[in-house]
Amino acid sequence: MINLEVKNLNIEYSTRNGTVYAVKDASFKVKTKETLGIVGESGCGKSTTGHAILRLLPPNAKIKGNVIYNNKNILELSNKQMRQIRGKDISIIFQDPMTSLDPIMRINEHFYELIKAHNPKAKEEEMKQIAEDALESVGVSKKRLDNYPFEFSGGMRQRVMIALGIALKPSVLIADEPTTSLDVVVQEQIMSVLKNLKQTKDMSIILITHDLGVVAEVADSVVVMYAGEVVEYADVQNLYANPLHPYTQLLLKSVPNIKIGDMELRYIPGSLPDLKNIPRGCRFKDRCPYKKDICDKEEPPIFNVDNREVRCWLYGG
């Protein structure tokens, strides 16, 4: 069952120095119990996409397209209707758990605020029960409900954030770089919490990250973004076994690995194009080893190859 569908999403920011075309024509779907990974470098539009689903972008952002949830385009809902969806149907956890919690509120107050926003008449015992259940499901003792955020370590705070995210049993959880500011060992613990949640709750997870290793471990399907566009969309097995887009191929090769025989450092030469002033044709052409004439002239559309989507002239035209 399709839980959430993003169709032809376009996002522009108007700034003093011109319009930034942050996301262009992004489309993907998430099924129940599926984890979708969105990967790409900083500035590729992955977080913007994630935040746009919940309409959390700053006022200078213009969003066009459709985000279909429950047969409704939630981009057209009123602010009041949108507030009812946030946290209850679709929730989000952010990268930095240090700044996402209010330092002068106890953990339980965070939960109560969330619950009361959706059910003003909720009773204290009821709210406490919800908070305790959520905390226990991410491996935090319920005794710690009375603590303040500063009494938690980074990894524990991120667990609390996840608990807040899932407290009202949302059907979609957007995790925006949930482990980027954490150590590897703690990252591993948080990842196993997320994997666990997917199995035990009927939930879809949209995992936004730049770490291809993390995606390989938890995602079922993957959207690869480059300079605001979806350049490849495939299931995780196929993507890693046989990456089609040259960007995906190079990105996969540039991940530092722990195989001892492999001592060669690989990277993608050059850098992202300026999103205010996008060159004609393919956005990756200046860094692409397979560049053809057509890449300069025309922007590649999405081609379907073996049930996968790839935006590259190598596969058509």
Partner: protein
């Protein structure tokens, strides 16, 4: 003591950096009455009796979680913070005994690169000025020579066209370019030794590899000794000849990189290795997930400091001391049972 001597057998002459029994204790703040009544002041043992040496043209990786004390090590060996005790030699010079004035002069021989390049560059200074600054402080060359030298270094770190970059401000650069500026500034005085404190942690995968490549190149070209502080074993693999794994202020394992990856001995090293995500959905690795998180250094476990999280902990672990045991000539580990 014994260990450093063993690690440096026969090649003491090449050692650029020698650290022996380094200790950094931070006094714990207590309410005044309690502080007055207590005879022994409680201390946070951030770095506890560390010894290692780094040869010319070689890099030592210092790997561990946040809170393991690796940054404290990096800062205290170049005296950005004063070590409590120990012996530090950089290029045959005893760093500990230098007066402040002497130390300032000596600083041209050792530099540090921090994690956040935006925070280490003055936003109101063009990057050219920032990089020229060390030459002015140490009074090297004439103003004209200085500028030429900066342009030359900019080319080397791939900030091309150098002349254009010279007049840019940090906010006009990308994260990777900023880190290149910081590296340029670190090598402009021709140092012998560079501490890199999580210098690639904030960068994207592809940019990270570019910056790692640059570090490899300058290390080779200037025959630099490197202390590469990171939490990422995979990055350390590319740069470092030797790797030391730290946990709660102690080195728990030290070995040549290849040896460490092929034959990790200490349970903590094994855990660190197994928690690195592998970009392959079919890779089924043996997962060892430790219990909980790093304990507070104010309340250190007795005996082995890792025993509270160790999956193989037993009764005896409560009274072992964490001295390094020899596994082979160049491989040492602090776990006597494994």
């Amino acid at each position: 003591m014994l260990i450093t001597e063993k690690l440096g057998v026969g090649c003491m002459a090449d050692n650029v950096v020698v650290v022996k029994n380094l200790k950094k204790y931070f006094p714990l703040k207590l309410p005044w009455l309690e502080a007055f009544l207590k005879k022994e002041k409680p201390m946070v043992k951030a770095v506890d009796d560390l010894s290692f040496s780094i040869k010319k043209g070689e890099a030592l990786g210092l790997v561990g979680e946040s809170g393991s004390g690796k940054t404290t090590v990096g800062r205290s060996i170049i005296r950005l913070i004063e070590p409590t005790d120990g012996k530090i030699e950089i290029g045959k010079k005893n760093i500990i005994n230098l007066t402040e004035n002497e130390l300032r002069k000596e600083r041209r021989n050792f530099q540090i690169i921090f994690q956040d390049p935006m925070a280490s560059l003055n936003p109101y200074m063009t990057i050219g000025k920032s990089v020229i600054h060390p030459l002015e402080i140490h009074n090297i060359g004439t103003p004209k020579e200085r500028k030429e030298r900066v342009l030359e270094i900019f080319e080397k770190v791939n900030l091309i066209p150098a002349k254009e970059f010279f007049n840019r401000y940090p906010k006009q650069l990308s994260g990777g370019q900023r880190q290149r500026v910081v590296i340029a500034r670190a090598i402009i005085t021709n140092p012998k030794f560079i501490v890199s404190d999580e210098a690639t942690a904030m960068l994207d995968v592809s940019v990270r590899s570019q910056v790692l490549q640059l570090m490899l190149e300058i290390k080779k070209e200037y025959d630099l000794a490197f202390l590469f502080i990171t939490h990422d074993l995979a990055s350390a693999k590319y740069i470092c000849e030797n790797i030391a794994v730290m946990y709660l202020g102690k080195i728990v394992e030290i070995a040549p990189t290849k040896e460490l990856f092929e034959n990790p001995h200490h349970p903590y090293t094994q855990i660190l290795m197994s928690s690195i995500p592998v970009p392959d959905p079919n890779f089924k690795k043996k997962k060892i997930i430790p219990k909980g998180e790093i304990p507070s250094p104010t309340n250190m476990p007795t005996g082995c400091r890792f025993r509270t999280r160790c999956p193989y902990a037993k009764k005896e672990c409560e009274d072992v001391d964490m001295s390094l045991q020899m596994i082979n000539e160049r491989h040492f580990s602090a776990c006597p049972f494994f």
